[in-house]
């Protein structure tokens, strides 16, 4: 995207923002300038367009990515399924994020996931590998333990140490891009759950109170930005899904620096109550973020 388009889109996003929230939001209009929101929610657009609007409302990518920085974009690429199955993050969204990073002057953008199905099949069949390469980013493997290094989690209750991928240690900016979906073990798979894909030993989490471990790990390094892909949403049989009948095209996108708030908003979109999702409730109690959406300055954008 050209810089000029970007500014125009940014401005229009701001305009929409002023009208989108309904009456309840008018009070907050005075504060409604790009970059001052705690959370941006966009709906009814294509994944890439929704991201354009959201990041503009957040103040543009240069706010998060400085010239010459290395960026890690972490989508969910857990499964060997096609994009229509909504088991993985939308490739169009991932590609667009990378372009924004480069436009902001990123030196390099890396993408990886510690996948559940065979990694190279997931990378390929999710469409993400191609989207990343087309956008100029680099797909990095995460398939052997040698990529992972042990770190301490000081605030962790059940999870006190974990082996995390070296990219997390070597990059300046961390953009977390989960897909919103049903999850048979964690209720929902969102931003915090997506972080499970940067660690090596997931079995330990399952063995030692999964919900607590998810919240524990979120206390470690908060992503610079969380972007939740709610374009296609798997409503049941998650996290892998059985067929496209599990999927509803909802065309939503949530963006926030507060990982708990982002998950809480996405939970609402899914139709659940954030405090019913144990790992969101625990993370809120651990003060990793807040699930009280009413206390936040939210920009709601309809396309």
């Amino acid at each position: 995207m050209k810089r000029r388009d970007f500014i125009i889109k940014g401005v229009s996003a701001g305009l929409v923002a002023g009208t989108a929230g309904g009456l309840g939001n008018i009070v907050k209009l005075a504060a409604a300038v790009p970059g001052s929101y705690d959370l941006v929610a966009v709906r009814d657009g294509e994944p890439d367009i929704m991201f354009d609007k959201a990041i503009a409302a957040m103040g543009g990518m240069p706010r998060f990515v400085k010239k010459g920085q290395k960026v890690l974009v972490k989508p969910n690429i857990g499964w060997d399924v096609a994009p229509e199955r909504a088991g993985n993050t939308n490739p169009k969204l991932v590609g667009r994020i990378i372009k924004h990073c480069f436009n902001a002057g990123a030196a390099e953008v890396y993408v990886f996931d510690n996948t559940c199905d065979e990694w190279n099949l997931c990378y390929r069949n999710s469409g993400i590998e191609k989207a990343v390469k087309d956008a100029g980013g680099k797909m990095v493997p995460g398939n052997t333990e040698s990529y992972y290094h042990t770190i301490q989690i000081p605030a962790g209750k059940s999870l006190k140490t974990a082996k995390i991928h070296e990219l997390l240690l070597n990059t300046d900016v961390f953009i977390n891009v989960p897909v919103l979906k049903h999850h048979s073990s964690a209720n929902l798979s969102l931003s915090m759950k997506n972080l499970m894909g940067v660690v090596w030993d997931r079995r330990y989490w399952h063995r030692n109170d999964l919900q607590q471990c998810i919240a524990d790990f979120a206390s470690l390094r908060k992503p610079t930005l969380n972007v939740i892909d709610g374009y296609r949403v798997m409503m049941r049989n998650g996290p892998r899904g059985v067929s496209t009948a599990d999927v509803v095209t909802m065309k939503q996108l949530i963006m926030s620096q507060d990982i708990v708030a982002a998950d809480a908003a996405a939970t609402r979109i899914f139709g659940s109550n954030p405090s019913d999702i144990p790992h969101i409730r625990i993370a809120d109690e651990m003060k990793t973020g807040t699930l009280k959406l009413e206390s936040l300055n939210i920009n709601r954008i309809k396309i």
């Binding site: 199905d117 797909m139 493997p141 333990e145 399952h206 049989n237 892998r240 139709g271 144990p278 309809k302």
Partner: protein, 525 residues
């Protein structure tokens, strides 16, 4: 006649080319292989092709017929350029000569009794329904095992180090490979076989091919009547014996000016060294060539020799320790052992009998399996099926969409399935052990098994409070092992796959109606 002297070089080039091409399928990362490539490079391998052909009578499995035709025409060219184990022996002999100037070989009598009786034993075993003899002596399968269990670990280790170096320059083209499991049974067998092969080839050239190898013996019978053959021309031969000294089959009797065609592997070494063009490769009934047609050729074999480049490979296995699966759940070890009575055979193998009677344990499916769920057995199939692969769900699980092993298997022990067939092909059934399950023992959420299940045969159903516990729907379970692989409890897992003797067609995964969700016009917050 002069062009015949190039035959040895042509033989060398083709044999090295086919050796490298076939080695690649055993040592390359699985994602670099395609079905087409694997099929082409294994097509002419005699025993796999013969096994497959008797099963399916397809032209695509007719490689061994081509080998028969080639042998009738030109002798045991198969042994000299197609068989990778033959080339491997040549490499050992050549290395031995380079390292230590050893004595030349000389003519020896055929070990006919040994040869034919070992072929007879193999055939009798086959007749009795056991493939064990073929499995243990097939040259292609032995080559596969040497590559898969001895060379591949070294390649993986070196490859991973190289990949790490490249990655420090931001190049991610070479994938690292997680080497899942060592199999000491296969490793030790392959090492001993290799040792035997080295000793035989260093001391006696192609002795293996002319004693133990069933393909060598069989083709030896045919090559006795081959059209083109090596001949000693009495009128030109000056009995210098160079041909015999360089004959790796030790089958040229200079005194009698006779060649034992059953042992000759048509390597053309004799043509190359003959100073008087007394040796020729000509039609069986060819007239003797006139002397005036031929000039004496000066051949300086020594000048053709090249210097040896020694490759040192450090096989430091200690680094592989890092790949070992981390044992978790130290706090609450599980108590009920997984009572598996039968391991699963890969999808497409239909049943244990079909699979065990056809698999020669070449390890091709093991090295090309993207998830490494296929691993060589020790005694899982009994002694007879030693080294035949089975589904090891602790090493990996069968990828739902993948049909590679069936398409790649050169013997047809695993037959190819269409993706839709494969997704319903049941090779085992998941069994849940509730008392081992985290949800039961710890009263916390887990559900790793259900997450990984591609058909949701393992589903989470309401349990105490807000917890959910796995339940298996056997009608739609295909036994892919994703649940067993993912289960975090140790030392025993809470869910495992019990093999079934006869593969079945599972019901299609349950699919509720499409969801119509009112996404309203507004935001729910």
């Amino acid at each position: 006649m002069r062009q015949l002297l190039y035959l040895k070089n042509i033989r060398k080039v083709i044999s090295i080319f086919s050796f490298i091409a076939i080695s690649f399928v055993f040592i390359a990362p699985p994602q670099w292989l395609s079905v087409g490539y694997v099929t082409v490079v294994t097509w002419l391998q005699f025993i796999p092709s013969a096994i497959q052909f008797t099963d399916v009578l397809k032209i695509s499995a007719a490689g061994f017929i081509a080998v028969f035709i080639i042998t009738f025409f030109g002798g045991r060219l198969y042994c000299s350029v197609i068989c990778p184990l033959g080339t491997l022996q040549d490499i050992f002999s050549w290395l031995a000569r380079r390292i230590k100037r050893k004595e030349h070989l000389r003519f020896s009598k055929a070990h006919s009794l040994f040869r034919y009786s070992s072929l007879a034993i193999i055939l009798i075993l086959l007749g009795a329904g056991s493939i064990t003899g073929v499995l243990l002596l097939d040259p292609y399968s032995n080559f596969g095992r040497i590559m898969a269990s001895l060379i591949r670990p070294v390649m993986v280790f070196g490859g991973n180090i190289t990949a790490g170096l490249l990655e420090s320059f931001d190049v991610f083209a070479l994938p690292r490979i997680a080497y899942k499991d060592f199999h000491f049974g296969t490793l030790i067998f392959s090492a001993l076989f290799l040792l035997l092969l080295i000793i035989m080839s260093v001391k006696r050239g192609r002795l293996f091919c002319n004693t133990l190898c069933p393909v060598g013996t069989l083709l030896g019978v045919l090559s006795k009547v081959s059209f083109l053959r090596i001949r000693l021309d009495e009128s030109k031969c000056n009995s210098c014996g160079k041909c015999s000294k360089n004959c790796k089959s030790q089958c040229i009797d200079v005194a009698k000016k006779q060649v034992d065609y059953s042992r000759c592997v048509t390597c053309f070494n004799c043509l190359d060294v003959c100073p008087s063009v007394g040796v020729s490769y000509t039609a069986k009934f060819a007239k003797k060539a006139g002397i005036d047609q031929i000039n004496t050729l000066e051949i300086n074999a020594g000048a053709r020799r090249r210097t040896l480049k020694a490759i040192l490979v450090i096989s430091a296995f200690s680094g592989l320790k890092a790949y070992a699966t981390r044992v978790t759940g130290g706090e609450n070890p599980t108590t009920i052992p997984e009572a598996r009575t039968r391991v699963s055979t890969p999808p497409g193998s239909e049943n244990n009998n079909h699979f065990n009677a056809r698999c020669t344990a070449c390890q091709l499916c093991v090295t090309s399996c993207p998830t490494q769920v296929l691993q060589p057995s020790l005694i899982e199939y009994g002694i007879e099926g030693f080294m035949q692969p089975y589904m090891n769900y602790h090493a990996g699980f069968c990828n739902y969409e993948c049909t590679f092993c069936g398409e790649a298997c050169p013997t047809g022990a695993i037959q190819s399935l269409k993706p839709d067939e494969k997704k319903l092909k049941r090779v085992g059934l998941a069994k849940f052990i509730e008392k081992n399950c985290v949800v039961y023992t710890d009263k916390t959420d887990c559900g790793a098994c259900s997450e990984h299940c591609p058909t949701k045969a393992v589903n989470m159903v309401p349990y105490e409070g807000k917890l959910a516990i796995p339940r298996v729907d056997e009608k739609i379970c295909i036994g892919c092992g994703a649940c067993e692989f993912a289960c975090p409890t140790r030392p025993y897992r809470a869910i495992f796959v019990e093999g079934i003797a006869q593969h079945e067609i599972a019901d299609k995964p349950l699919q509720d109606k499409i969801i119509f969700k009112n996404t309203s016009e507004d935001f729910p917050f």
